[in-house]
């Protein structure tokens, strides 16, 4: 009997070929030139556990449907191109591994919410960058350092704003904030994070200006500490903490 042969065979060496399996990805597609409304479309793709969602999207685009449209560049979580809603959570497609999702169920992928949908997974990012620009996200020192000299900054002062320097402007936070969804006038967490980066930089002297900008109807007070932003941030920035620190600074009147 054939089974006996298998039974007697020496134990197979641990399989070196890593197994692949079929994953169903359901993508919310929208082609502005054809569709009235976005629609959900299913795709089956052969994937490995260590693959990323970005790989799945590429496989679909490259092997099944070239018209699938999304942004991406670096493929390892540092350029901030590919924030999207994966199974209802905002993440970077290139930082979400298949093995970290429950693949017995289909994976749902859609564009981030709150910004105008342009096509498939692409949204209009201009409003997002507009609020970034509004908080004056650049160093405004009142004194000049000596010619050819750096400004001195202690290790502790440098550490004070380290967390918020990590931002890659991916918009995962802002587009996960329920306040931003319902009322896009809110500056949004990303803008506050980038204001925080300068407000708490010991070399900067324009904290007051930025605090004033955020001490506005659409500023920090709109934040209801829902923590969606912190949960969404692919850089692990403590976004809500940063917002809380800005609120405190406004109440104190200085950083």
């Amino acid at each position: 009997m054939s089974t006996a042969v298998i039974d007697e065979a020496a134990p197979a060496p641990t399989p070196e070929v890593i197994e692949s399996f079929t994953v169903t990805v359901i993508i919310r597609r929208f082609d502005p030139e054809v569709d009235e409304q976005p629609k959900w479309v299913d795709y089956d793709v052969e994937m490995f556990a260590t693959d990323r969602i970005l790989d799945a999207l590429h496989k679909i685009k490259w092997e099944q449907d070239g018209s699938l449209t999304f942004r991406r560049s670096c493929a390892h979580g540092i350029c901030g191109s590919d924030a999207m809603r994966i199974n209802g959570r905002n993440r970077l497609a290139c930082k979400t591994l298949i093995k970290d999702l429950d693949i017995s169920k289909p994976i749902y992928v859609e564009a981030i919410k709150g910004l105008p949908l342009e096509k498939d997974l692409i949204v209009d990012m201009d409003p997002f960058f507009e609020s970034f620009r509004e908080v004056q996200p650049f160093l405004i020192p009142s004194s000049k350092p000596g010619a050819g000299k750096e400004r001195i900054q202690s290790v502790a002062d440098r550490a004070r704003f380290d967390d918020t320097t990590k931002c890659i402007l991916c918009a995962a936070c802002t587009s996960s904030c329920p306040i931003f969804w319902t009322d896009g006038q809110y500056f949004g967490p990303a803008a506050i994070v980038n204001a925080h980066r300068f407000i708490f930089d010991s070399r900067d002297d324009a904290a007051k200006v930025r605090l004033d900008i955020l001490n506005d109807q659409e500023g920090v007070w709109r934040c209801r500490t829902t923590f969606n932003c912190t949960d969404a941030c692919p850089r692990g920035i403590q976004v809500t903490q940063a917002i809380a620190e800005v609120k405190q600074a406004i109440m104190r009147g200085k950083p």
């Binding site: 329920p178 500490t225 829902t226 923590f227 969606n228 949960d231 809500t240 903490q241 809380a244 609120k247």
Partner: protein
């Protein structure tokens, strides 16, 4: 996220109850009968259950409100926000365990 949704819903619920509650209490200025008639409806079993819900809402809103205040003013607040949310739930359960039986006995034993 969910703590916020609940906080919002309970806040609104309490607000509308408060509007009604002030109006009914104002009836004490009209006449004792009128007041007693309205307040009598609070003592029916159905309203009794409603009151449990109301107190539940207030208690959650109050505890979670304190959590929000800690997040805002305590430097470690954001770090422990999840823990504090579970504490809010725990305190809510304890409070409701203390209140509900007592209240329902009052409602149903009369």
């Amino acid at each position: 996220m969910w703590s916020w949704v609940l906080h919002r819903i309970t806040g609104v619920a309490i607000f509308f109850f408060l509007l009604v509650h002030i109006l009914d209490t104002a009836l004490v200025r009209v006449s004792p009968e009128a007041y007693n008639a309205v307040i009598g409806t609070y003592q029916t079993p159905i309203m009794g259950l409603g009151e449990v819900a109301l107190v539940g809402a207030i208690v959650f809103h109050a505890f979670n409100g304190l959590r929000i205040i800690l997040i805002d003013f305590w430097s470690k607040g954001t770090k422990y926000q999840k823990v504090m949310f579970y504490v809010v739930i725990a305190l809510w359960v304890i409070t409701m365990l203390g209140f509900t039986p007592r209240h329902l006995i009052n409602v149903f034993s009369h």
